[in-house]
Assembly symmetry: C2
């Protein structure tokens, strides 16, 4: 099969199909080489000019699910992050958790006084005597990128808070501002962020240190990756601030709350444990 075909991205953009990208993506699920090769062979057979990335991804996911639930869960990670919506609140808690497991002390939704006005800061994170202000930009739709206006307003907000902060005594220094999104930054958003000194974190930015990499490295999967929990169950857990699979291991009584049978419960428990295993 000729794989020199055009595929359609969620943004509507047309690009050349890349075998390498599909291989990398499947590899990240934790599947072994042989499994990846088998899946790729099957997906290749079903390619056609104008196929959407979503179709390719769904097909690969279905094949992966046959091989083992937890592999499919990891593969579905990007979608799982979208499923944290519709509000941005669980995403903020998720980012806060990622930082906590990287050694930060974090608080969510803190109101801070600026020189001009008061601001609600999504996540405030302390580490090594430094305070970092983090703004989370959550999008429920694919292809909706984070444009330059976001780092522009965060830069002003950071300056306003810092102008007030520096007039008082504090145990830590306020030095860094972050903007985090589950989608992507536009080119000028990145250009502006770098120029003004904001740290930008998106699904795949910075290179090798984006959200996907951090999640894989820390094993901090959101509960929305589960293939066994229903959407209703996931939303129930999110509303109780259970955002990470890891949280669920300690708090299995939430599953009793949901009236989940013992058989399903042990299956879910097994899936969750596989996911948390580094």
């Amino acid at each position: 099969m000729n794989t020199n075909i055009d595929i359609i991205k969620s943004s509507g953009e047309k690009v050349k199909f890349s075998l390498k990208k599909l291989r990398t993506s499947l590899g990240k699920s934790g599947a072994d080489q042989q499994t990846v090769n088998e899946i790729i062979d099957k997906v290749k057979e079903e390619l056609y000019d104008g196929i959407s990335t979503k179709e390719i991804y769904n097909r690969a996911f279905a094949l992966l699910k046959k091989k083992g639930g937890h592999l499919a869960s990891k593969y579905k990670l990007k979608k799982a992050i979208y499923d944290l919506g519709p509000t941005g609140y669980p995403f903020e808690r998720f980012i806060s958790a990622i930082l906590k497991y990287s050694g930060y002390k974090t608080t969510v939704g803190e109101i801070m006084q600026g020189k001009c006005v008061r601001h609600e800061i999504d996540v405030v994170a302390d580490k090594n005597g430094m305070t970092t202000l983090i703004e989370c930009k959550f999008h429920t739709e694919q292809g909706r990128n984070c444009n330059v206006k976001v780092p522009l307003y965060i830069a002003s907000r950071f300056k306003d808070v810092k102008a007030h902060w520096d007039t008082k005594r504090h145990e830590t220094k306020l030095e860094a501002g972050w903007v985090v999104t589950n989608t992507r930054f536009t080119k000028d958003a990145i250009q502006y962020g770098n120029c003004i000194g904001l740290y930008l974190l998106s699904w795949d930015y910075p290179n090798n240190d984006g959200l996907r990499n951090r999640i894989d490295r820390l094993g901090l999967y959101p509960i929305t990756v589960s293939t066994l929990l229903t959407n209703r169950e996931k939303q129930f857990l999110l509303s109780r601030d259970v955002v990470l699979c890891r949280d669920l291991i300690d708090d299995l009584f939430f599953l009793d709350h949901l009236g989940i049978s013992e058989t399903r419960k042990s299956k879910i428990q097994k899936e969750i444990k596989m996911l948390c295993k580094q």
Copy 2:
């Protein structure tokens, strides 16, 4: 009739009915005292607890229309501004026109280099050796106010452009940044704008110098105030950059383009002339 009743604003907020506000609003249409009194008496009879501002307004408008088309047109000004949508582009041209008739030299949609990135500036306005950058924030829905994020990002944008501007020779000084909206600013948007030195202009802010006041003072009514032109005709004119009634007086051939009959044309012409009369 007891006028001590609660009415519902478009934002959903409940407030006490104010006879004074209705009187002021009708007065601004240019109607004489007697007409205003007659209309108020009729509207009062139809008030009830929980009536929406929109209902009151529609009723007053209908009565005003009976008295004379051009009075009703002026009364409908706020809605006419919304009708400049759905895109924000005609509103930018409209703001540009208001500034032009106040002695500024203006350009719309100019790309300007900043220190970090390039920015598209909605309106750039020069007067007395000063350059002003203006960002327009147009909302199609009532009750959607302009929050603090807007002046926050405009402040950063202004600084970025100024940082580059000041490294070059220019005939004018870049000194002022404006944010203009057809709705309202939230309290902290105003607080931040004043603190950081941005000029904010909204429907009724600053007091006695808001958009409504400026439009009345300059007699610069948007073509969308016309009660005789249809929506399709208005959209056609907007797409040809005919935004002001005043523009239409000079370019009546646009009405021929639309295949409007001579009888209707002369009626429209009469309405437009009444509106432009100071």
